[in-house]
């Protein structure tokens, strides 16, 4: 409802300003001096540009209402590793806090509609992070995560004074 009202309002504006411009232009024409015509000319161009963008705005909102799938994408998917589905994987929209976690079957549904070009970061302790770009074509992401090769070792620190081993 809100959207359609804005749309109409936009068109109303467009009509009134347009007629206003024409009359203004006609009046001016009678007084015609080159300079004023020039200034007004550019003024009209500016106004027309303004109107034009108004129109595209109106179109956009209309599109949103009719076929939202083109712009806002609901992304789902399944994450697994070489041993099967991977539960507990984090999926986060890059540069934000919004995210989802895979369930026991490795499945997730991203809680927020995404736009084409958004990047999702998949992360799980011990696996390499992966970034996937959202496009209208891949709203179901089937991802295979590879476990990171990490050589495990660890020498804890010590504050015990060193003592030489002595035979005596």
């Amino acid at each position: 409802m809100q959207n359609s009202r804005i749309t109409q309002h936009g068109f109303d504006n467009f009509k009134t300003t347009y007629t206003f411009d024409i009359t203004k232009y006609r009046i001016m024409k009678t007084i015609t001096t080159n300079r004023i015509a020039k200034v007004l000319g550019s003024l009209i161009i500016v106004m027309l540009v303004g109107l034009n963008s108004n129109m595209t705005y109106a179109q956009n909102t209309q599109n949103d209402m009719t076929s939202s799938a083109d712009q806002k994408l609901t992304v789902k998917g399944k994450v697994s590793d070489d041993e099967g589905p991977l539960p507990g994987v984090n999926i986060v929209l890059k540069g934000s806090k919004v995210g989802a976690v895979t369930d026991e079957n490795g499945m997730f549904t991203f809680p927020q509609a995404l736009s084409s070009g958004d990047v999702l970061v998949f992360s799980f302790l011990g696996f390499e992070n992966q970034e996937i770009k959202v496009t209208p074509k891949n709203t179901f992401i089937n991802l295979m995560m590879t476990s990171e090769f990490v050589e495990m070792m660890g020498a804890p620190n010590s504050d015990k004074p060193y003592r030489s081993k002595r035979s005596n």
Binding site: G88, V92, K97, G126, E151, M152, S158, S164, R166
Partner: protein, 333 residues
């Protein structure tokens, strides 16, 4: 040519914490503190929370590093189990890989559920959180030397730390040793953050860290592994009190009773001669030795010591009652 090289070195200087003396880490540290209850089940979110309100890379890295150091416990039990197997399989790469794969799963599970790990876990977390915050941070594998480690030439690597690129320059830090000290007997870990391991001076760092890839030493002079095996033992206090350790260069020293041994250090803080002492242990008893020839110039501390009697001595260097380093002296007539 030599002068040009000297000039470049002088201008670039060593990458160390004092490069950021103008940066106040209070904000980064308080953000790390405010995230104390966070778990590891959502790393991207944790990285975001730790870094979103900070303006510079060094502050962002600081918040991540400080969080890991003050939230992850060092598990001595895990360490000793792993060490046994690594030594056992050191000549059997297949068995070692099999063990490593199995152990890795266990490590990550324990890290996730209990926030306990061994040092690769620390370095790994610092690296992963940094990556998520668009910082170039790497794990560095190699050998770490403490008063309790006995590294021999054949031993497999035992330690992991981090290198971080800030303003186009690489720096070193050791989150494992900065976090605290585990008690080998009780497996109780006490958090005791040591700021000295954050962007430490590479020359000081090289005394008890030997990277498998020499480029990660970040020093001009390359140390051989043999030389590393004979560097003095440094304690955590060395990192909070010294900028550089200059002499003695070696851990084990063969001398005679006529020689004057030179000790030299570059200090981070001014000290008074009364705060400098050596504890000398001949195997039967330890005695405190006050030193009467101390020179302190421009934060550079120097003194000498001569042994009057032959024997084998463990020599501990103390500043203000804090143990800094240990050497051994085999003294003959």
């Amino acid at each position: 040519m030599r002068y040009i090289l000297l000039f470049i070195v002088a201008v670039q200087g060593y990458a160390q914490q004092s490069d950021f003396d103008h940066v106040d880490f209070e904000k980064a540290d308080s953000i790390a503190l405010s995230c104390n209850n966070e778990g590891l089940d959502n790393l991207p979110q944790l990285a975001f929370k730790l870094t979103q309100d900070l303006d510079t890379d060094v502050e962002r890295f600081r918040a991540i590093y400080k969080w890991v150091c003050t939230n992850i416990a060092n598990d001595y039990d895990l360490y000793s189990r792993n060490k046994r197997k690594r030594v056992k399989f050191k000549n059997d790469s297949l068995q070692l890989k099999l063990w490593n794969d199995r152990f890795k799963t266990k490590i990550f599970d324990k890290l996730l559920k209990k926030k306990r790990t061994i040092c690769t876990g620390y370095a790994y977390l610092v690296q992963e959180l940094s990556k998520l915050a668009n910082l170039d941070c790497r794990m560095v594998h190699g050998y770490g030397k403490t008063s309790m480690t006995t590294i021999e030439a054949e031993d497999p690597p035992n330690h992991t730390w981090n290198a971080i690129k800030l303003n186009g320059k690489w720096y070193l830090c050791d989150p494992t040793w900065a976090s605290g000290i585990p008690d080998p007997d009780t497996n109780i870990f006490t958090f005791n953050y040591n700021d000295g391991y954050f962007l430490a001076h590479p020359e000081l760092f090289a005394i008890n860290h030997f990277p498998l890839e020499s480029r990660w030493s970040l020093t001009d002079t390359e140390t051989s592994f043999e030389a590393f095996l004979d560097t003095p033992i440094l304690y955590g206090n060395a990192y909070t009190n010294l900028n550089l350790h200059l002499a003695p260069e070696h851990f084990s020293n063969n001398i005679n009773t006529s020689q004057h041994i030179k000790f030299q250090y570059e200090l981070l803080y001014q000290v008074t001669p009364g705060e400098v002492r050596l504890d000398i242990d001949n195997g039967f008893h330890s005695r405190r030795v006050a030193i009467d020839n101390i020179v302190i110039e421009n934060k550079r501390l120097s003194f000498t010591h001569r042994f009057e009697h032959s024997g084998f001595y463990d020599v501990h260097f103390y500043l203000n009652d804090r143990l800094i380093s240990t050497y051994t002296f085999d003294v003959s007539r």
